[in-house]
């Protein structure tokens, strides 16, 4: 077992825990195309872990492997100290891994409140008959979960739009609602696929603040993909850099910034 269990304190004084998820030699192919090639990295409790890389590097594929949407041909996923068997996405969600999508996957026809309530589905245990009777346990459960949802809505400052159908919201707010839905699940790991794509500066600042607050206040472990380098370097504790499906760098933002392979991948290499 390679799990290094010690905790440590980062440069800016944040406490990072033991390894909670470990990807071991993951290879993912689509037919002849190799999307991810033999990549290993870990995610530690309480950290913000960024995955960066140029377009088509395989970042989203990696996130999809973690959340069970894709199944790698080779390699193992270790979660909370045990090897995870091949799982369907809804089973992964039930294990406490929530995610958002690059192209926003919300329930457009439902209100913001209902959307965020779906985030609580994995926490609701009453069966169909109890729900049908809507008495006692089912009702208590709904009320408790609704309370949690209201907290999340307050936290992300979307009280004003809670009854609005999601289809009517502008892009930036949709992104925030999607984050709210993922947060409502009280995940152990939160996966964010380009949480700031297509946002203006102000919206990006808001989103960055929310991500930091979530990590700070709830101690949620976050793995995110982002293109905005400034944001990534500011937010994350550790960064994985991918290029053409391979890992070319892994370390603190400073280490990554000074890595020659990373610089080459982003700026190009002179061919002589």
């Amino acid at each position: 077992m390679s799990a290094v269990a010690e905790e440590y304190i980062t440069e800016d004084g944040r406490k990072i825990g033991a390894v909670v998820m470990e990807m071991k030699n993951i290879t993912l192919k689509f037919g002849g195309v190799v999307a991810i090639q033999d990549i290993s990295f870990d995610i530690r409790q309480g950290e913000i872990r960024a995955i960066i890389g140029p377009n088509g590097a395989g970042k989203s594929s990696m996130l999809n492997v973690i959340s069970g949407f894709y199944h790698p041909q080779e390699g193992e996923v270790w979660y909370k100290g045990a090897r995870r068997p091949t799982m369907r996405p809804y089973q992964v969600a039930a294990q406490g891994i929530a995610r958002t999508f690059q192209n926003i996957a919300l329930f457009e026809g439902m209100s913001v409140l209902d959307n965020v309530m779906t985030g609580r589905l994995t926490h609701m245990n009453t069966n169909m008959f109890q729900q049908g009777l809507w008495y006692g346990k089912a009702r208590a459960e709904e009320i408790a979960n609704r309370q949690k949802v209201e907290e999340v809505i307050d936290f992300l400052e979307i009280q004003a739009i809670r009854k609005t159908p999601v289809g009517r919201l502008p892009y930036g707010l949709k992104k925030r609602v999607e984050l709210a839905r993922a947060l409502a699940a009280e995940p152990s790991i939160l996966l964010l696929d380009e949480p700031m794509a297509g946002m203006n500066v102000e919206e990006k600042e808001d989103m960055s603040r929310f991500i930091l607050d979530v990590n700070d206040e709830f101690g949620t472990t976050i793995a995110l993909i982002e293109h905005d380098m400034g944001v990534v370097m500011d937010l994350s504790d550790r960064v994985v850099v991918m290029d053409y499906g391979k890992k070319i760098g892994d370390g603190t933002p400073d280490e990554v910034r000074n890595n020659q392979d990373v610089i080459d991948a982003y700026l190009g290499v002179a061919h002589d």
Partner: protein, 328 residues
């Protein structure tokens, strides 16, 4: 008050009652369409199958008797017992859940992500298959269905209206019962889909498969649930129509009556199915009553479709259908 007017009221009331029965069938369509985007052509046949199964169980018929006799050279037709209506309805509901599981496991699970037209074709296939299975299982004779629902003229209404108008209205007890049951069913389904955990999961799946998966919803479970509920609605519709006009092949054709109801009410709205059913029911009865004699009658055969066509031109999403909002 003129006689014509009083008769008009009676026709109106009877139209409402007929409309409720249309709505019941339409409801089955809406449920499946909402949750899985599948237009289930087999809904009418499901009602037939449910009604035949119910009668078969009540009468203690041996399922697949014809087949068994042909293969083993036996001559069995009946178990020789009669199952009480209530128990038989429960058993039939169980059969419909089993049917839902089979449909999901062997057909639609393999068609996830296919074009709507492919899914539609699959339901057409399912409809004919189920029709054959129904006949093979319970034979194709016309059967009488009596689960103890009251039938015949309601004397209270007859007396009451006679006192007011000097003319007694003819309202069938069965229609009144159907109306009450349909109302309860609709109310229950609406509340279930709006406020329960499973209802929310159902709406989530209808909206976005990927997103539903990511919050921990099992698509398979939701689809089996939805087909079960649709099967149950088909059972209720089968009981009502079967009691009214006997359990026979033509029962499956009520599905065609549900089409204009859906166009009117919108494919995605449960209240729409109800209001659409009522409008069609009342509309065709009143039209037949007022205009029918002038143009030679038999307007009930086409009135609903013409009304639906007019609606398609002016309001393609139906009365209550989801508005097509597109942000560009």
């Amino acid at each position: 008050m003129s006689e014509q007017f009083i008769w008009g009221i009676e026709v109106f009331l009877n139209g409402l009652m007929a409309g409720v029965l249309y709505a019941l069938v339409a409801l089955g369509f809406v449920l499946i369409y909402k949750a899985s985007g599948i237009f289930n052509y087999a809904q009418g046949v499901m009602a037939l199958f449910a009604a035949m199964t119910l009668v078969g169980i009540m009468n203690g018929q041996v399922p697949f008797a014809h087949l068994i006799n042909a293969i083993f050279g036996t001559n069995v037709h009946h178990f020789g017992w009669h199952v009480p209506a209530f128990l038989a309805i429960l058993l039939t509901a169980g059969v419909m859940v089993g049917f839902a599981w089979i449909v999901q496991r062997f057909i639609f699970r393999h068609l996830v992500g296919q074009e709507p037209i492919i899914l539609f074709m699959a339901t057409i296939g399912l409809a004919y298959f189920l029709e054959g299975v129904s006949d093979l299982m319970w034979n194709s004779e016309i059967k009488k269905l009596d689960v103890g629902l009251p039938q015949g003229i309601n004397l209270a209404i007859d007396d009451f209206t006679y006192g007011i108008f000097d003319y007694g209205f003819f309202i069938d007890n069965l229609d009144i019962v159907a109306t009450i049951i349909a109302a309860i069913l609709v109310l229950a389904l609406t509340i279930f889909s709006q406020y329960s955990k499973q209802g929310r999961a159902m709406r989530a799946v209808a909206d976005d498969h990927q997103a539903a998966l990511s919050v921990g919803v099992s698509l398979n479970f939701v689809w089996i649930m939805v087909w079960s509920v649709a099967g149950f609605v088909a059972l209720v519709a089968g009981i009502m129509w079967g009691t009214k006009s006997g359990v026979q092949f033509s029962l499956s054709l009520i599905a065609l009556k549900a089409l204009p109801v859906l166009m009117l009410g919108g494919f995605t709205s449960i209240p729409g199915a109800i209001v659409g059913g009522l409008i069609i029911g009342v509309g065709e009865k009143l039209f037949e009553f007022a205009i029918g004699p002038m143009i030679g009658g038999a307007t009930e055969n086409w009135f609903a479709y013409v009304l639906a066509l007019i609606f398609l031109v002016f309001r393609p999403q139906g009365l209550f259908g989801e508005k097509i909002i597109e942000r560009v």
